[in-house]
Amino acid sequence: MSFLNLFVAVPVLTVLGIMFTKDLKGTRIVSAIGMGIQLILAVYLMVFYMSQAGVNNLHEIIFQSDSVWFPSLNIHYYVGVDGIASAMILLTAIVIFAGVFASWKVEFLPREFFISLIVLATGVFGFFISLDLFTMLLYYEIAVIPMYLLIGIWGSGPKEKSAMKLTLMLMAGSALLIAGLLGLYFNSSAEGGPLTFNLIEISKITIPITAQRLFFPLTFIGFGVLGALFPFHTWSPDGHASAPTAVSMLHAGVLMKLGAYGCFRIAIFLMPEAAHEMSWFFIILTATSVIYGAFGAIQQKDLKYINAYSSVSHVGLILFGLLMMNSTAIDGAIMQMISHGLMTALFFALIGMVYGRTHTRNVNEMGGLLKIIPFLGVMYILAGFASLGLPGFSGFVAEMTIFVGAFFHNDMFHRVATIIVVSSIVVTAVYVLRVVGIMLLGPVRHEEHLKLKDATWFEKVSTITLLVSMAGIGLYPLWLSDTILGSLQPIMEKITMYLH
């Protein structure tokens, strides 16, 4: 048994534990302990990986374990992580830990809520430890299904409609994805050997270019729907607006990254020739996402819509970086996955906390809140600074790395696309400061807001965890970027093979 299986086992045990709890308090404590252990494991994994990579400078995939699952189709349960997957696991563990504390106040069917939430996280953890396409897809679906229940039951506003929209769009993405993955499977053997879903095995051969041209767009768009690729992003604003706080956090923070990770780990990694050929088309789409999302966010009034559009913009930047297909830009894109995951989770947590007090998410109905709820206000401003890419937070590091990497292409098309994308730093500043200015600064707009209470201890745990993680990357980014760059080496060999 691999150490990695613990990342699935701990959440499953936590879920079992919750089933046996009697009251709200027990549910909370079991969830918090379970996810706390998970966080410790994730930190251990990251540190262990870094020490391994540092000593041997090998950057191999560690904790590999392979067991046959469906012999007839050659489906394996094959796990293993490199630095990138470890970082994604760490991100997930941080966000779910913060998410549990942000959901402390859920009182309607709390046991069912926490169970769904942790099942969702289990799917995500499973996805990141897997190296077998079939297992990955399975875990991916495990993560998507609880989403429907979580939004449909614990959501707000037109929750059934939003849940339906979100699930259907993601399922449509899955349909493309299944077609893409099957395409990989049936092309996975060059000389008539056994077919395989094994990611590493497939990466050792070159998929025929005709097959790549068909299956790359299917896979990329399939994951891209989850990663809010323009124009398939419209589930995101409605879904987030209706979702309960922790679900928004997990969804924007982790699930959208799962989409981007899939685009990278499966679509681009396994089919680099087609990715290279078609990158121009997707670069146009992602560059559009970046600017379009940012301008879209300026006009919104609902805090969650603002953040959803902002996510479209920031996640567009991730896919943009991946499509640049050089190690610097991909390094930046992966850091952006982590950075945006933490940042947007913090935003959604804060929005939930503010909403829980003011009972509105309309910015125009708030004003001067910094005076009344200073802790939450300061946190919101810091999250805003992180969002607009202020140095000291992770967003700056990630964005700059993407920009520098993208600038290595010296043709006019890439240059123009890059400069358009870079200009988003200005638009981002506009919408972030607009919200901060209206909601937190200025005179207090409503008398009844004067009675609001500032953050409770569990809210502080949730937000501080996220903020400290962001600053940890932002102040000294080298540990993360070196780990990612190291793990990228074997991947880049494959991706840049077409050049030779």
Binding site: F385, G405, I419, V422, I425
Partner: protein, 637 residues
Amino acid sequence: MADYSYTLLIILIPFFVFLLLGLFGNRWKPMVSGWIGTTGLGVAFILSLITAYQYFFAGAGEAYSKIVPYDFVWLSFTDTLQIHMGILLDPISVMMLVVVTTISLMSHWFSLGYMKGEVGFERYYSFLSLFTFSMLGLVVAPDLFQMFIFYELVGASSFLLIGFYYQKPSAVAAAKKAFIVTRFADFGFLVGILILAYFTNTYDFATLTKPGTTIFANAAGITFMGASAISWAMGLIFVGAAGKSAMFPFHIWLPDAMEGPTPVSALIHAATMVVAGVFTVARLFPVYYFQTPDVLILVGYVGGFTSLFAAVIAITQHDIKRVLAFSTLSQIGYMMVGLGVSHYGGEEGLGYMASMFHLFTHAMFKALLFLGAGSIIHAVHSNMMQDMGGLRKYMPVTHITFLVAALAISGIPPFSGFFSKDEILAAAFQTNKLLFYTEYITAGLTSFYIFRLYFNIFWGKDRKYEHTPHESPMVMKIPLIFLALAAAFVGFLPFHELVTSDMKPFETVTHWNLVIASVSIGVLGIGFAWFLFKKENSKPAAIAQWFGGLYTITYHKFYIDEIYLFVTKKILFNLVSRPIAWFDRHIIDGFMVGVGTVTVKTSDKIKGFQSGNLQQYAFAFVAGALIIVLSLLYYIG
């Protein structure tokens, strides 16, 4: 080589003070925070003086070297392209260490009295420390990217301090405006860095600015729209510099930034942050001079235009802080002109030296003017000139120190501004006559508007004050006196032996005809102001009347703000952002929802086929088979 490792403390002390006050400042009495901040800065100030002494005076009088006492890799993009963080000591950065810590200490000190009793006193001091940290990090940067990082941090701390009175809508608006305008300029800066690093594969200043370097060879012959790639890069970096230094057309944020507390205006918006752009150009001066002389000329003209433009506006303003803000723009324009007309090396590099000299003296007298204005505002509780008059009787110390600063900025010998301004004029005279005359006229306007301010505040008619204005407390007077001494005497510093373009001392020649010309236009300006404003009379109003529309246009700052507002509000918001939001909700989402609806509708329509009616199935089966058979026959036949 001497040991400079302690310079790290100069940077880190303000940072830790910021963290300490930011996290725990509300646990103790406000004054404690004030004293922690001031003491921390005091230590940094003393260390800076030690650094300056060790660097400039402890060694023998030959060329200065670039010393890097501290350096580490912060982030690596590739094996060769990395962001370094560290400390670089050379004449201009050591000079800036002294300037920043001096003015910051004075502002800290002054604020102990000025901000006493304000809500958020500890927040104020933590932000001041954050700003000082950012500014110090900027000036010691050995790496272009580090400079950019601290550009951003400086912008953010400026945002926080301008918006210190965050419940006041105008302060919030001003803070946002300052941040967004400078961010826009930073966008240019960033693209400039990207282009430059693409060709040179380095961010290191020492590598970039080495004269005769071949690092730009990669970019040879590459042009875009008539300018070389390096010109574009350096031009865009200058855009960033112009944003921070509020050069036209990015100047619009600076007058509004006066919404911040007055000591903040003295520190950030007069002496330190706004000269970051000048510093950046000076830092990259060899690149500008050797690689892109075309951009350097642009620097000169932008500076020249801004200095004249701002001086004209300053004449018409009534808010004393805004007069000083426009005056700052104008004086920074001088510094840009100094760089723009300079050559590299020896006496030819007079403009560079003069520009740095003016930066230094300007920091002293402009900070003094602002702190003096703060002292006045503290006494009369108004920013407007109309509410002031005859204050010399009530506030003797403020009066005398203000007068010293006014004489310094007017270029009257032996006050400091005379030396630096005169050398800029001399440099311009040698290289570019147009810029020389622009700056010469501006010198006259400068002494006129500053003495208009002086006479209106301290002379003129006694106003009816709510309570008799009183002199500020000792804690505010000490910084004023200190800065007055500096403003009076720093002109005697031998800058040509300390801060030069090639780091080698040179001898200056005094051009007596220029000295006489510049002093006389300064005196003329003062005399004219004395004639108009010494006693309250109807002459100024009559003159304003005579200029008519021209006066109104100037008073409204040439409507540049309105133009910006039109572009951002009307065009970007209404014609870009709003349509995008609508398009997304109605077209794209509409399409996705439409796909769902069509699916539902279609299934509704075709579900009738599955009726369970055997005859219907049989009919469809036979008909289908027939069609297939017939079409097969058709194709075969």
